[in-house]
């Protein structure tokens, strides 16, 4: 009954997690608000748009009760710009993740504040601070990174899963023919996979303490997780005795340094006298 998997999310679990992302939906039929375990769904009144989790949006789309509005970053122009950035401007690292969402404040016109806890529109910052846990910072999949208003030109964390799901089930809602978007996505997948492979080859002789992968996507992480973690763990186990001796030497040097320092002070005082 216990889970036999090694630590780290598998690709299926990442896909499950990605289905919790919010997307914008244009309903075709009225639907009342349903009381779900994760909160109430918004009331659907065509033609007003609403934000729903991806799994629910896909369910409605399959039953032809709604159309999904693809996020702005999936537009071919945006994808082309991202590909350009990945290949020409920054061939080493991945393209940066989307900036954290900010909203204008109702209470202080002209001021923008970081939207901390929610995908459900803005409310005043003071209420937020007093009534909620100030340490709760949102991150994927609870950030609004795939709704229609998300910024274009940035790939959110679950980009591959969401793009695949939307292309498969809502291909007719895309701003351009699905074939074009799919080919651009394939190019993007290729470029990033190549970067991932080259970053792992740089890990040969990995003796560093950490490795930053800013901007990597969820599925890419899941695919390479076993390899990367195995590599780092393997290097650590092989170098365990070398590391232990290095630490002992550093301890010795530090303790030896202390004695040496006292000795120098004494001799300086003597000299001064």
């Amino acid at each position: 009954m216990a889970l036999p998997l090694p630590p780290g999310l598998t690709q299926n679990e990442v896909a499950f997690l990605a289905e919790m992302e919010m997307v914008t939906v244009v309903p075709r039929q009225r639907l009342d608000s349903i009381d779900l375990l994760g909160g109430k769904t918004p009331q659907l009144r065509p033609p007003h748009r609403a934000q729903l989790p991806l799994w629910l949006a896909l369910l409605l789309k399959k039953q032809r009760r709604a159309n999904i509005v693809p996020p702005a970053w999936m537009h071919p122009a945006s994808l082309a710009e991202i590909i350009h950035r990945e290949t020409k401007e920054d061939p080493e690292a991945f393209s940066p993740p989307p900036p954290p969402p900010s909203r204008a404040l109702y209470s202080q016109p002209g001021t923008a504040r970081r939207l901390n806890p929610s995908y459900l529109d803005d409310f005043t910052q003071t209420q937020q601070d007093s009534q909620q846990d100030p340490n709760s910072i949102l991150s994927s999949p609870f950030l609004p990174s795939n709704v229609a208003e998300s910024p274009a030109g940035y790939l959110p964390y679950h980009w591959l899963e969401v793009a695949e799901a939307l292309l498969t089930h809502a291909g007719d809602d895309m701003p351009a023919p699905a074939g074009e978007v799919r080919s651009l996505l394939r190019d993007l997948v290729e470029v990033r996979a190549a970067k991932m492979r080259s970053s792992t080859s740089a890990l040969e002789g990995f003796g560093d303490a950490y490795l930053t992968l800013r901007g990597v996507g969820a599925m890419e992480l899941a695919e390479n997780r076993a390899f990367l973690a195995g590599l780092v763990d393997g290097v650590r186990k092989i170098g365990a005795s070398a590391e232990a001796t290095r630490r002992e030497e550093e301890e010795e040097a530090r303790r030896g340094g202390d004695y040496g320092g006292d000795g120098d002070d004494d001799s300086d005082e003597d000299m001064g006298l």
Binding site: P7, F16, E19, L36, T212, L213, V235, G239, R246
Partner: protein, 221 residues
């Protein structure tokens, strides 16, 4: 503008993220964290699981009621509720199974240490103790009984090596930084200090990342 948006702006006191959504986020974070670390994390405090269990039970009752009065209008709502219920149950089941797998791997380690024992829930602790008892008795009946009595214990710490397996606390984990932070990291050849910005995804040792994750400055990915 939606009437809801107007109401929200005018009366922010009564509007905040509902407890259910926050529970879902907490449950998801706890699930991802538990799936990613090599050691058992503390049982979520603030009554998260008791609330979720209650809600699931009530939702199952609601589904049974709704299936009774079949009406084309409520039919669709029923499908949605059932789908979401299955998703929730999957999260809860996967979370609990991961924890049981970790406990099973290092039974004595988690039972013998007082600090670690508090990380388990009461049911988990009872399960761990009984499992350990069964295993030990099975070993005694199979082969351990033939050893001299002094060698029949499973928690021998004589010599430099302890018999009790501990999880490897230096395994590599992937974290995402939620705030800008400076982390001291240990490596094989060098020890470094990582200046991370928010949104960075870093791979480092669990022993280095643990402090940040517990504080809430980083989350496991």
């Amino acid at each position: 503008m939606d009437i809801d948006d107007i109401l929200r702006e005018v009366d922010p006191v009564s509007y905040q993220i509902p407890q259910e959504t926050r529970d879902l986020q907490d449950l998801t974070r706890a699930w991802v964290a538990e799936r990613s670390t090599p050691e058992l994390l503390p049982w979520p405090s603030n009554g998260l699981f008791e609330r979720i269990n209650d809600k699931i039970k009530r939702q199952i009752e609601k589904v049974e009621e709704m299936t009774g009065d079949m009406d084309p209008k409520t039919n669709f709502a029923l499908i949605v509720i059932q789908t979401e219920l299955e998703r929730f149950k999957y999260l809860v089941r996967s979370f609990l199974r991961t924890r049981i797998a970790k406990i099973d791997k290092h039974l004595l380690h988690y039972i013998s240490n007082d600090n670690l024992r508090t990380r388990m829930s009461q049911i988990e602790e009872a399960y761990a103790r009984r499992h350990q008892l069964l295993l030990h008795n099975h070993y005694l009946n199979s082969f351990l009984g033939t050893f001299p009595p002094a060698m029949q214990n499973l928690n021998d710490t004589a010599g430099n090596i302890s018999m009790i397996d501990s999880p490897d606390l230096d395994s590599a984990v992937f974290i995402r930084l939620l705030k800008d932070a400076e982390i001291e990291c240990h490596g094989v050849d060098v020890d470094g200090v990582l200046t991370g910005k928010e949104g960075d995804i870093v791979i480092l040792r669990w022993s280095d990342a643990k402090g940040l994750v517990e504080k809430g400055d980083a989350e496991l990915v």
